[in-house]
């Protein structure tokens, strides 16, 4: 008797748990898509304004005016370069629909003067992005 009662109780309990699980699944289905969205990190580096800068002449302030505040920094040093170059790093990342694209711009400084740049991007239509 006791064994049958326990089985009956556990059956009732199991059905209650399954109902609860079904409810949780429904909540998940409704709740998860609300959290999914696109992401844009940083702002696209204004590579169209690099022409405003003159190598060996433009200062950090000029770079700031032309390109805005960098997201990071860095350095470059090589036996063939001589003095180390300080770097201002601009980064833009966009994630949308399972795809991630990015754009990176490095500005080199020698003695606090603009000394060149390097940029690369997986965003093919850069002009439209700016």
């Amino acid at each position: 008797m006791a064994s049958s009662g326990t089985r009956r109780m556990s059956g009732v309990r199991r059905r209650a748990l399954d109902r609860r699980a079904a409810l949780l699944l429904a909540v998940l289905v409704i709740w998860l898509p609300g959290c999914v969205g696109s992401a844009r990190i940083g702002t696209p580096p204004r590579v169209d304004r690099l022409s405003m800068l003159t190598r060996g002449v433009s200062t950090r302030q000029d770079v700031l005016l032309a390109l805005g505040q960098p997201r990071g920094d860095g350095a470059l040093r090589s036996s063939t370069l001589g003095d180390a170059r300080r770097i201002w790093f601009y980064q833009y990342v966009v994630a949308e629909g399972g795809r991630q694209d990015s754009m990176r711009l490095l500005i080199f400084f020698l003695d606090d003067r603009y000394d060149g740049h390097l940029w690369f991007s997986s965003i093919l239509d850069v002009e439209r992005t700016l």
Binding site: R14, L24, I41, R77, S78, S79
Partner: protein, 118 residues
Amino acid sequence: MRPTSRALCTILLAGLATGCGTVRLELGRRVDPSLLESNLRIGQSTRADVLAALGAPRGEGRAWFPMDAGPRTVWSYAYGEAMVEGMRVNDTRELSVWVYFDGDRYDGYLWFSTLPKR
């Protein structure tokens, strides 16, 4: 509890734990770029010295820049972190370090980072 019920509860609890709260995801290993100057000497240090200072690289390649006389071996180190809220990426930070070798000798570096300073 049935395995299906247990699995659903686990999913929900994990979901609520991450939920729309912020979680930091990390990829790769963070190296300290200041070691490139403090622990290594261009033209003197070897690959073994770089290995001792920075650990094993994540990748390797070759580079020949216009100012260089010839191609050099490149070791690359990469680290990234993302702040995720729910299933949305709120912020990403990265550190890239490239170390150059002329033969077995340490010949320079390039690093750039958006990580907050330690």
